[in-house]
Symmetry: C2
Subunit: 234 residues, 2 copies
């Protein structure tokens, strides 16, 4: 039984669940995996806590992991990258193992593109400042390029916008603004691929044409969860 500590944000959790179903080989209901989702959008803002301006999300997330375990989950995933800056604390308090989206993503990038040396990372300001994603990418032998401070502010503003209700034109404008930053990392900083290192970013940027490989951490986490549940993803 897969446990999903979700709601951070809810659209990212929905997208994770959709990718989990789409990547599970199935012709009837009973071929699918059992999944328990606690979508708790009331968890305090992760980025606010990471940049020192907000309440810790750890107690509510730890309570959520306990709730998932009580509901029968054997292990948990968290479709929110920023939350992973608190992973060591969460793992220490969780009654069930927690898969790391950071480790899954770093290994997935390395496996799919073994010759890559430098990647660009788009993520929340909290994730970037905490260094939580740079560490496993570096451990996988990858150099990491991040946006300049003014660009990073635009990335963070875009992520908060994605969490609201977007019209088609707004979505397109956000995609274009993010693509400009991603393309600069490629053209000027030597990034050979872009890691969408926040679960909201694939919601607008997964199919953007950036001219280099684009890694969707939500998709990688979904496929890793299927493997951890003992099945082969389709």
């Amino acid at each position: 039984v897969i446990g999903v500590l979700g709601g951070m944000g809810p659209e990212a959790t929905l997208s994770f669940y959709a990718k989990l179903l789409a990547n599970t080989p199935a012709v009837r209901d009973q071929d699918h995996l059992r999944v328990v989702i606690d979508s708790n959008p009331k968890v305090p803002d992760r980025t606010a806590a990471l940049v020192g301006a907000g309440e810790s999300p750890v107690p509510m997330m730890a309570a959520g992991l306990e709730a998932l375990a009580r509901a029968g989950a054997d292990f948990a995933v968290i479709p929110c990258v920023s939350a992973h800056a608190f992973l060591a604390e969460l793992r220490a308090r969780s009654p069930i193992p927690v898969l790391s989206i950071l480790e899954v993503a770093a290994e997935g990038v390395r496996r799919r593109e073994p010759s890559l040396r430098t990647v660009g990372l788009l993520a929340t300001t909290g994730t970037v400042r905490s260094g939580a994603f740079q560490a496993p990418l570096a451990a996988a032998g990858l150099e990491v390029r991040v946006p300049a401070p003014a660009e990073q502010e635009r990335v963070m503003a875009a992520i908060y916008s994605i969490k609201g209700t977007l019209g088609r034109a707004e979505r397109q404008a956000l995609r274009d603004a993010l693509a400009v930053i991603a393309r600069r990392l490629v053209a000027q900083e030597g990034a050979e691929a872009i890691v969408l290192g926040c679960t909201e970013l694939p919601l607008v940027l997964a199919d953007a044409e950036l001219g280099v490989p684009v890694f969707d951490v939500v998709l990688m986490l979904a496929r890793a969860a299927i493997v951890a549940a003992g099945r082969e993803p389709s």
Copy 2:
């Protein structure tokens, strides 16, 4: 906290969750409602049990309702119409209240189209034979027309197909086949609206042009859950 006893099928649960988010007014994560989902596709086939050929799904569903309560749900919804043929038994065993998709849908049809007298019902063979949906529709003052036996077999086959992996062409073919049956209920049986009385049907038929109002029970259940959680749907 909204509890969702899901997985019957998983795509219907995904669609329910998507409609819940889309109908909740929100500009940031924290504006959304907490939702706990137990997506358990291993529940025995509801239609097989209803037509007398399969194991009862009640014990596993009752266990799921207990798991939702343990995880913190205040009430539950079940995005599977056929499962509602067992609702009285489930309610008797559930530690938390269970909203009925049948009652929600019958009231919703009546409220949105007060002048309707006759509706066509597309649903699983189990739902149709059990009469579970005809009763609340009749209680709302609506006459119900159902497909002829040969048509009903095609509706049931289509529902099982929707539960598998569909290509674009297959999806279109299923939609066309179902639309033929719906149009006959309108043209020959006097149906003034079509109730999509199975949570899989809106996945292919929600935007079909049938020339009469089409009611999506998944959408009606999502909006009712938002109301039951104390919010106004958008």
